[in-house]
């Protein structure tokens, strides 16, 4: 390398250190060029300063394990609260069943719910979810209207849409 080390050479030398031919030429040049050796020393000084600062900052803001566990505990408590903010689709269906059984009887309630469920789900899915819940309630309400009258249908619709169903 007759000329001094270029920016492109330095970049490769720092970011892809290894024994490639270019880096070897940089090393050979550094051995005989005081100016480029000084530049390398300046770069090293900056790099070392940054590393030292990172370690110092990490040390200054470090939390003890118990502090981290306390923060984690608060997070998990929050997650637990959110979990119980809604019903699963299966639980919500059971709630509706408990509501309509006294109106139409045990067997009819089960059959009507199954029919509404089949009509609400794509062929590829077996279980109700929050996404299919609205269609299910509409179908169940229609079915209850035709079997037990419009008032029963309205009751199912109002109850169904007031239940918060969890996502997923």
């Amino acid at each position: 390398m007759q000329n001094h080390i270029t920016d492109a050479d330095w970049l490769r030398f720092f970011d892809a250190p290894g024994d490639c031919e270019d880096n070897q030429r940089v090393r050979e040049h550094l051995a005989g060029c005081a100016r480029c050796a000084n530049v390398l020393e300046s770069f090293e000084s900056v790099r070392q300063g940054l590393v030292t600062e990172k370690d110092r900052i990490r040390g200054a803001v470090a939390l003890s394990d118990s502090e981290i566990d306390s923060l984690l505990g608060r997070c998990l408590a929050q997650i637990g609260t959110e979990r119980h903010a809604g019903w699963s689709a299966a639980e919500a269906t059971l709630l509706l069943r408990l509501l309509i059984e006294p109106i139409c009887g045990h067997g009819t309630a089960g059959a009507t719910i199954n029919l509404a469920r089949r009509r609400s789900l794509p062929v590829t899915e077996e279980n109700l979810t929050s996404k299919s819940w609205s269609i299910f309630i509409s179908n169940l309400s229609d079915a209850m209207s035709s079997i037990c009258g419009a008032a029963a249908g309205r009751l199912v619709r109002r109850a169904g849409f007031s239940i918060a169903v969890q996502e997923g």
Binding site: F14, S42, V46, L72
Partner: protein, 177 residues
């Protein structure tokens, strides 16, 4: 990168549950708290924002499948959480200015957390250079992660970091020269 962090990230992405979240939290929370502290937030605020971020990570975990994009994604949430906080409480926060938070760069005031030398170095750099250097050397993000986070090609990020180091090396040469 914190010890055990890549494994914790991978386990959480594969199975986002409370157990894997606990490991992820222990690996990442100290780093996120440091991110906020370095950018001028107090201890309590840093912890609150970190908690907010980690909750968002848990809630949205299903959206992410590639481990290599995880940290840029988390840091985007980190930046947005600070920005939202400043917007909500702008007048009450004295340590972080809105403009500063938007740029994601350190607060203008001297920060007792940063050494005098480091503050001088950072003040010498432009705002975008400062942010990229902090992400690389204080937050220890990889080039591809910084590239994702700041929306610049990886090569551009490498050049910007090199140029910033070159400026610092030229301006703050080791003593004795």
């Amino acid at each position: 990168m914190q010890q055990g962090e890549p494994e914790a990230i991978e386990r959480f992405i594969l199975n986002p549950c409370e157990e894997t979240f606990g490991d992820l939290f222990r690996a990442m929370a100290p780093r996120l708290i440091a991110w906020y502290r370095v950018r001028g937030c107090g201890k309590e605020l840093s912890e609150d924002l970190t908690q907010e971020v980690m909750l968002a990570v848990f809630r949205q975990a299903g959206h992410l499948r590639k481990p290599e994009l995880f940290r840029p994604w988390v840091y985007r949430i980190v930046k947005n959480a600070l920005l939202q906080h400043v917007r909500r409480n702008g007048r009450r926060i004295e340590t972080v200015e809105l403009k500063t938070a938007e740029a994601g760069s350190p607060a203008k005031q001297p920060d007792p957390l940063l050494s005098a030398q480091f503050s001088e170095w950072m003040a010498f750099l432009g705002e975008d250079e400062r942010e990229i250097m902090m992400l690389r050397y204080i937050d220890e993000l990889e080039y591809h992660e910084i590239s994702e986070l700041v929306g610049l090609p990886q090569g551009t990020v490498q050049w910007k970091i090199f140029n910033a180091k070159k400026k610092l090396a030229a301006r703050f040469k080791p003593r004795g020269e």
